[in-house]
Amino acid sequence: MLQPEAVELVILAAAALAFAVAFSPPAASRRELLGKGGVGVVGAAAIAAVPTFEGTLLALLALGVLHSIIGGKRPLAVRLRGPVVAVTLLGLGAFFARVQGPEVMERFAAVGLVAGLAAGVGVLPYLHPIDPDEPLVSSPVVWLAFAGPVLAAVIVQRAQSLLPVDAAGAFGAMLIGLGLINVVWGGAAAWLTESEAVAWRYSFVADWGLVLCGLGLIVADGQRAAIVMLFSIVLGRLPLYLVALHAPHEKVVTGRPVNLVVAAALAGSAPFAGFAARLLLLRAATQLFWPLAIVLAAGMLLWLPGSLRLGRSLGLPKGRQAVGVALVLAVNVAAGLYPLPILLAAHL
């Protein structure tokens, strides 16, 4: 049976692709975007649709190979490394979950599944190397927001059904731990790194940290926080990143009102979708273990300086791109003020 969160995330990925095609600058090839992006959406749908865990791994492997051979600036071996390491670790994790043996095998299974998930998505400690000149369709940053969400939703749900109760608890705890590392590292790196392209990548990683924390919190609000955060990645940060990629480079960087509003959206301020996700996450953490909420709240402050910088990187959007930015901001405000449809679609 199809998982509602995964179906919703596939639809969101298709919407992000439609945005990229509609609002890409005239220089970009719309046909190439549509063709290769469409294959990506089909691959993500295949990951969600196959009924078994191993089927998901095979779909991930096929999608990873396709993503690697469509071209790019990085060597093929580097491009293949992420998905292959992910499939290897997830395969070994599933193996340890299925065999009969001492309890330590279940712990190995949880470690393999969490590590494989991190490698598949491309977050710490398995960051995929990036090249600032990488074409959009083969970029690992786009993979983070395009295929990653569906993969995470499917793997977490199936892993929890594979693991016994104790190991599922360990799996959740490791997701939270990994999420916190990504929050701190990603937030600090997005602020302090020199390259703008790298800063954008780390901002995705920081957002993914919150998603992992939400997925690891076993209460309903944690799952709700994760799905709203994924919405904000796919239909918030990704489209703004696409606009920033093609923004004209300014000699003197100045902060205009539009840049401040974009920075607020990227930082997860009210009334954008990221704010609703953060509130849900803090509520879930308070229900489970309140000191975690303090750590998360402190980590969320790291978004502010990095987001101001990324907001400025959009410059002054004009014409079609200005319409795109306005649309993204409006959608994120709507989702932030009234996230119920997103949650209902995911049956949460």
């Binding site: 089927g55 791994l57 095979l58 492997l61 071996a77 499939v87 193996f95």
Partner: protein, 180 residues
């Protein structure tokens, strides 16, 4: 007894893929490993699964003969760490499959673990597309084989999907990659 021999053959083939750099060596390794995995798939999931693995493996091995560095190039100079990896992986997998874990199908557990591990390691340590895609083909087949562990009636679908991936990966040439 047959399963134990098949598990050994599958490890031997995967080790040849790890140790070879030439197209003939890679094709031979893939063919040997697939022969062992097909026998195990027959026991675990029936004749359709075994036929899928065998067909996918043969197509992958045939495709590999078309491209890549010419000759065998098995155990070229500097391949001692790879040889150590193959032996160490086999010993570790044997200990886990036979001593640490319980239940029937120890050869299946050994093969799934050792082929997944060696294929993944081969991709991490290689740069040339023919080597990468040969290892990916074996990885796909081993993932399907792992689906048979702990299941009463495994379906042949994962084997069929893995065979398609392995077969197609075997025919991806460096020219295809460069043209994309």
């Amino acid at each position: 007894m047959v399963d134990a021999v098949a598990a050994f053959v599958a490890w031997l083939g995967a080790s040849v893929v790890v140790l070879a750099d030439g197209r003939r060596g890679l094709a031979l390794g893939a063919a040997i490993s697939v022969a062992g995995m097909a026998v195990l798939a027959l026991d675990a999931a029936g004749p359709e699964a075994a036929a899928s693995v065998a067909l996918g493996g043969v197509v992958a091995a045939a495709g590999r003969l078309r491209s890549g560095r010419g000759g065998w190039h098995i155990m070229p100079a500097g391949s001692t760490p790879r040889l150590v990896l193959c032996i160490a992986a086999a010993l570790l997998a044997l200990w886990i499959a036979a001593a640490l874990t319980t239940g029937p199908a120890a050869p299946l557990r050994f093969t799934a673990m050792v082929v997944i591990g060696l294929s993944g390691a081969r991709v991490l340590g290689a740069d040339e597309p023919p080597i990468l895609f040969t290892a990916i083909g074996l990885l796909a087949l081993a993932i399907a084989l792992a689906a048979g562990i702990g299941q009463i009636a495994p379906t042949p679908w994962p084997f069929l999907a893995a065979a398609v991936i392995a077969g197609l990966a075997g025919w991806i040439s460096p020219r295809t990659v460069a043209a994309a």
